[in-house]
Amino acid sequence: MESRILAYMDSRLKDSERAEMDKHLAACPVCRVRANEFRSVSDLLGELPMVEPTPAFDVRVRARVAAEPVKQSWWAWMRPSPRIAFAASMLLLAMLWMGYRKEAVTPLPISPEEADASMMQDISVMEDHDTLANFEPLKELPPPVEATADSDDTDQQM
């Protein structure tokens, strides 16, 4: 009874529960009186008028809402200006592209060891040129008559 009487008054009981309650109230005068009294209490409560907020209430709420700090995410600064976002994206792309180009054109740097090794490989050329050109004894020789003979003589002298 206790748990159902208010739900009965509010018409919030299921049909089967309501029928059961009707049957009980018909047979129990104490509960019937109690149910009627509760209904009267509910009606009396309904007599109190509603209180309207003062006009200043809305003004104060709006003022406080307006004074609230604006919460923004890290990316929020970009939201109001899509142009800035676009320009920043284009700049980033351009920088990436320039970097890629520079890397493709610039020859790979050579370490000192690699440079020495390269020079050693070319030393025969230097010998062919410098050593032979400045070899004093060879200068005293008469100029070769034929290229082939000159070549053979040179080999023999060496």
């Binding site: 206790e2 748990s3 009487i5 208010l6 739900a7 919030r12 009627n36 009294e37 509760f38 009267s40 209490v41 509910s42 009606d43 009396l44 409560l45 309904g46 007599e47 109190l48 008028p49 509603m50 209180v51 309207e52 907020p53 003062t54 209430f57 809305d58 104060r60 709420v61 709006r62 406080r64 809402v65 609230e68 919460k71």
Partner: protein
């Protein structure tokens, strides 16, 4: 088409300030009434109602519609009201039940001045006394019972919702409401008996 409370709140979350204004217009009167009946002081009720709306606004970013909007709203309001009553308990104890009511408490409940011009002065006094009796019966209820009755009778929330607001089980709520109505029945016995005779 009227947008639901949840839809409005989700729009507020999305940055639509106008939706917050709609929620304010929708709930300003129920909220101020509920808080006024809880704390018995109009100025304090409006201050608390403001605080409720500000808390709703501040929580917009984290809002997830897991429950009804009214459950959330009145839960904030109930907690604020109960905290406020606890803070002012000493002041309350010093107040006499027969002390003259402040403008804020009584000034807004004089619809008789304009409501029914056909009533005689004597009838008006009787009506005023009757309403005062009802108001005092509500005020005498223990705080949690009072909140339960206000949410049940004036906000017409369902039991499950009120139980969530008051952080109790549905069966505990029904028991709470039953005890509250029992107390009101005793307090309002003369008025109840008069109605029974009609």
């Amino acid at each position: 088409m009227t947008r639901t409370d949840v839809q409005l709140m989700l729009d507020v979350k999305g940055g639509d300030e106008q939706s917050f204004e709609l929620l304010l217009q929708r709930y300003r009167t129920p909220l101020v009434n509920f808080l006024f009946r809880m704390v018995k002081n109009r100025e304090q009720a409006e201050d608390l109602a403001q605080e409720v709306f500000i808390r709703v606004y501040r929580a917009r970013e984290e809002y997830v519609p897991t429950a009804k909007f009214t459950t959330w709203l009145f839960r904030i309001a109930t907690n604020l009201a109960l905290n406020s009553l606890r803070d002012h308990r000493h002041q309350k104890l010093e107040m006499s039940i027969d002390a003259p009511l402040t403008d804020g408490e009584d000034g807004d409940e004089r619809p008789f001045e304009v409501a029914d011009k056909h009533l005689t002065v004597e009838q008006e006094l009787v009506e005023e006394e009757r309403k005062k009796m009802i108001r005092r019966a509500i005020e005498k209820l223990p705080e949690k019972q009072r909140a339960a009755v206000l949410l049940h009778k004036y906000q017409e929330l369902d039991y499950a919702e009120i139980a969530k607001i008051l952080s109790c089980s549905e069966s505990a709520l029904k028991s709470l409401l039953f005890r509250a109505y029992e107390m009101l029945r005793v307090e309002l016995a003369p008025l109840v008996a008069r109605r029974g005779l009609k």
